[in-house]
């Protein structure tokens, strides 16, 4: 007999294929031509627009929306890509409600912003689907640059550097390029292999070689790279997952949320993925929400997301919290894990209630759990890196590290939020600085 959401333990195939297909469909389908025109018409073409200022990559939003409204989405896409070469993915995953759309004057005036994210998705999809790459490489400079990490920061840096005519080699530990775009984002935000197609499209600039299965300390050394290349950019992300630090953490069924998300993204058949009946996700960020929502969508009966502080302190945006709630995820706040209970495998997990300053109130609660996902943050891994600051590679505004000739950006480096769009901006800006230095 096949499984259902009620089946005990960690089971695959809780839902029928048709239900899974519907659950993991595009969260915000692309606007059609008419919808895009209607949405674009709402833009006021503000002077020195607040949305542009709020965008970490400074996309000229009023201009690209005007280009959509005048029937030239390809030109709109070029406006976007000239600032943010991963504008397609950012249109899908950016928390626009806390960036461009939050400061849209129509949000301020009416509580209903121009749908900047969806318009960006519309324009970028139109161009990417043509298969054409809108940028040309400058004449080859003969300079060689190593980019470690093929995530948003590394790809952004690589594209910009290749555009200047440098030869770029991008290394990545995984078997596939894309970084978090490929492995770390909920499936319903990037359907139809979009991350993979975006990388293929990005590489059409030419001059970029991707070598997968290579990481610092695993086939690569910083010293060797420095010897071989004119510059090195590190965009290695945060490879380690924080531990709960409670008893029983090693029991079966206690997993890292990032692994669950990655497995889900790479799965050929969602019905083959096992998921618990009673799932508890610990954490309050995007990763926690992505794991919780997808656990529910896979057919878990009960999914709780437990965060140690109040709702307003959660890193996941209000939109993400609402999304989780709308999918049936129960959000529990002010509760900190105390012990994982079970005989070999997890059966229950005990939390202690805490106030907003994390002081225990003395009260506890136990939640039934046959699967627990840890999503309480990630850490930088690796030895021999440039100087760190607060656990990340210290960089200045142009991405320079403490070591001459090594730049860094994205989640592994200080500066900016851990967002795809921030990583893209940092990769791009470091590339500009590298180019300026190599051209000097």
């Amino acid at each position: 007999m096949s499984n259902t959401p009620f089946s005990e333990g960690i089971q695959s195939g809780r839902l029928k294929p048709a239900e899974l297909a519907e659950n993991f469909g595009d969260l915000h389908p692309r606007l059609d031509d008419h919808e895009a025109l209607v949405a674009a018409d709402r833009c006021y073409f503000c002077h020195d627009a607040p949305c542009m200022t709020a965008c970490p990559t400074d996309i000229d939003i009023p201009l690209f929306i005007r280009q959509i409204s005048t029937g030239t989405p390809e030109a709109a896409a070029k406006t976007i890509f000239s600032q943010n070469i991963l504008g397609g993915m950012c249109a899908r995953v950016c928390p626009t409600e806390t960036l461009c759309e939050e400061v849209c004057v129509r949000e301020v005036a009416e509580g209903k912003p121009v749908e900047i994210g969806r318009l960006q998705r519309f324009a970028t999809d139109v161009l990417v689907e043509t298969g054409e790459h809108p940028f040309e490489r400058a004449e080859a400079t003969g300079k060689k640059i190593a980019v470690v990490g093929a995530g948003p920061a590394g790809l952004s840096a690589a594209h910009r550097l290749a555009g200047y005519g440098h030869d770029v080699t991008v290394y990545d530990a995984r078997a596939k390029a894309g970084g978090l775009n490929e492995f770390g984002i909920a499936a319903y935000k990037s359907v139809d292999r979009f991350a993979e197609r975006e990388v293929e499209w990005l590489l059409k600039i030419g001059g970029i070689t991707v070598e997968t299965g290579k990481a610092l300390g695993d086939g690569l050394s910083l010293e060797a790279l420095q010897g071989e290349f004119d510059a090195v950019f590190l965009g290695i992300g945060l490879g380690g997952v924080n531990a709960l630090g409670v008893d029983g953490e090693d029991k079966g069924g206690v997993d890292d949320a990032v692994d669950f998300i990655a497995d889900l993204r790479q799965a050929k058949e969602l019905g083959t993925l096992p998921i618990g009946r009673d799932v508890v996700v610990i954490g309050g960020g995007m990763t926690a929400v992505d794991a919780a929502v997808q656990a529910k969508l896979l057919g878990a009966l009960n999914v709780s997301l437990v965060y140690r502080r109040g709702k307003d302190r959660m890193n996941a945006s209000e939109f993400e919290q609402d999304l989780a709630a709308s999918k049936g995820v129960r959000i529990i706040t002010n509760a900190s894990p105390k012990a994982v209970i079970g005989n070999g495998s997890v059966r229950e997990i005990e939390f202690g209630y805490t106030d907003d300053n994390l002081n225990p109130t003395g009260q506890t609660v136990r939640l039934p759990a046959d699967q627990v996902f840890k999503a309480i943050g990630q850490t930088l891994e690796g030895a021999g890196l440039p100087d760190l600051e607060r656990g990340k590679i210290a960089v200045d505004g142009t991405g320079r590290t403490s070591v001459e000739g090594i730049w860094a950006g994205g989640d592994c480096a200080t500066g900016g939020d851990d967002l795809t769009v921030t990583a893209v901006a940092e990769g791009r800006d470091a590339a500009e600085d590298i180019n300026a230095q190599l051209s000097a």
Binding site: D41, C46, H47, A49, P50
Partner: protein, 434 residues
């Protein structure tokens, strides 16, 4: 409750909203629907001479321009007068008038510029029981090439002549419909008056090309790869029509000539504006073609509400009330000084006023680092551009300076006296102040 009953040159209708002579009034079927929807009257689609009717193109007849959200702002057409036989139209008009005796049915007519033609057809049409005639001297396309429509309307002598023939041929009211495709609307209006016309209606459509198909390299509407100029109408033409109505209403020669206002009327407010400038009633076409006949219900309710609020009992109470305030530029009070003022509570910080003023006007708006926009009184010439580009209605207003206040731009105090260009020292033609 305001009484919308309308009496225009003796033609009575339940309200002042008529459908203009155009596609919506081409057939009994449409006109019955219009009356059921609430229209006060119709000017039947223009009738031509007996015999084989004109033929229309068999491709697109309309072109358009759109605003945001594809709101239709302007429409142009290359349709001709009715392409149905005269006798069919007359039978239908008679039936409609019989069934709607309280509604106005006006016959629009266009026949060649010969006395016999006009004098033969008018009595024939009058047998339908119609309430009056409108002489179509306005159509700018197709018919003009045959010496009719605007080809007549552009020659005042012809207008006068045909109007006279018509007045000799019928006792019913005769309205002359004017083309705007002229340099001075007073000449045809005065000619109509001399010819004995009971009223003028205006404007007919404006010569236009709305769009060019950039693939086919042809104007649109495109018929087999070619296009022609068509008659432009809709909200976009309202300002042109309002001015022409006002010119006739304030001209001493034509001040008493009744006017039926036409041109882009879409809402009750548009209608009230035409009437305030001197139109005794209004005619509507494009709005009905865009939204259907039901819009008249908003026009009726809106006009009634406004009249109640203002205490007007009948439309005659406010017709022409704005006319005396239409003057020549030289008589505007140069001592009336205003300054733009931005309501910070309403401002949404879009910065459009700043861009408009900084780039294209007088650099009179300051922008702070935190996007607060304020007017620099010492630079503001009160041009009103910021008011017009602001997306929030009422956010930017013009504040009138009181006598004695300092105008910081000119460093002179505001004077209480009226002073215009004719008296201004910079005017070489100025009359010496007494």
């Amino acid at each position: 409750m305001a009484n919308l009953q309308s009496d225009f040159v003796g033609i009575k209708s339940p309200n002042p909203f008529w459908l203009a002579s155009a596609p919506p009034t081409d057939k009994e079927y449409n006109v019955r629907r219009a009356f059921e929807a609430g229209w006060g009257g119709v000017v039947w689609k223009t009738l031509g001479a007996e015999g084989p009717p004109v033929v229309n193109v068999n491709g697109p007849r309309y072109g358009a321009i759109h605003g945001a959200d594809r709101r239709l702002l302007g429409l142009n057409n290359i349709e001709l007068i009715t392409d149905r036989p005269l006798e069919v139209n007359l039978e239908e008009m008679a039936r409609v008038k019989r069934d709607y005796p309280d509604h106005a049915v006006i016959a629009s007519v266009m026949v060649p510029c010969e006395e016999d033609e006009w004098k033969r057809i008018l009595p024939m049409i009058a047998e339908t029981g119609c309430d009056g005639f409108e002489l179509n001297f306005g159509c700018p396309h197709g018919m003009a090439e045959r010496g009719m429509g605007s080809a007549v309307g552009q020659v005042p002598e012809y207008i006068e002549m045909v109007a006279r023939w018509c007045k000799e041929a019928t006792d019913l009211p005769v309205i002359v419909k004017l083309t705007p495709n002229i340099t001075n609307i007073l000449h045809p209006a005065e000619a109509a008056l001399r010819g004995g016309a009971d009223a003028v209606s205006l404007i007919n459509t404006i010569n236009s090309i709305t769009t060019v198909n950039l693939d086919a390299m042809s104007p649109e509407p495109m018929i087999d790869g070619k296009g022609t100029h068509g008659g432009y109408c809709g909200p976009a033409v309202k300002p042109i029509a309002l001015n022409m109505v006002a010119e006739i209403a304030r001209n001493p020669e034509t001040a008493r000539l009744p006017i039926s206002g036409i041109g882009g009327i879409t809402t009750w407010r548009d209608a009230a504006e035409f009437m305030a400038l001197g139109a005794g009633n209004v005619q509507v076409c494009t709005a009905a073609m865009t939204y259907g006949f039901k819009i008249v219900q908003e026009m009726i309710s809106g006009l009634s509400q406004w009249m109640d609020e203002k205490g007007y009992e009948s439309t005659a109470d406010f017709v022409g009330m704005a006319t005396p305030n239409v003057t020549d530029w030289q008589y505007l009070n140069l001592n009336h000084i205003t300054k733009a003022e931005i309501n910070q509570d309403d401002c949404i910080s879009c910065g459009r006023c700043y861009a408009a003023c900084e780039d294209t006007s007088h650099q009179a708006i300051a922008m702070s680092e935190d996007r607060v926009f304020t007017v620099k009184d010492d630079e503001c010439v009160a041009c009103n551009l910021c008011v017009n580009v602001c997306p929030v209605e009422g956010c930017i207003t013009m504040r009138t300076l009181e006598p004695g206040d300092m105008d910081e731009r000119t460093d002179t105090p505001v004077v209480a006296d009226y002073g215009n260009w004719t008296q201004h020292p910079n005017n070489p033609m100025a009359k010496a102040a007494e």
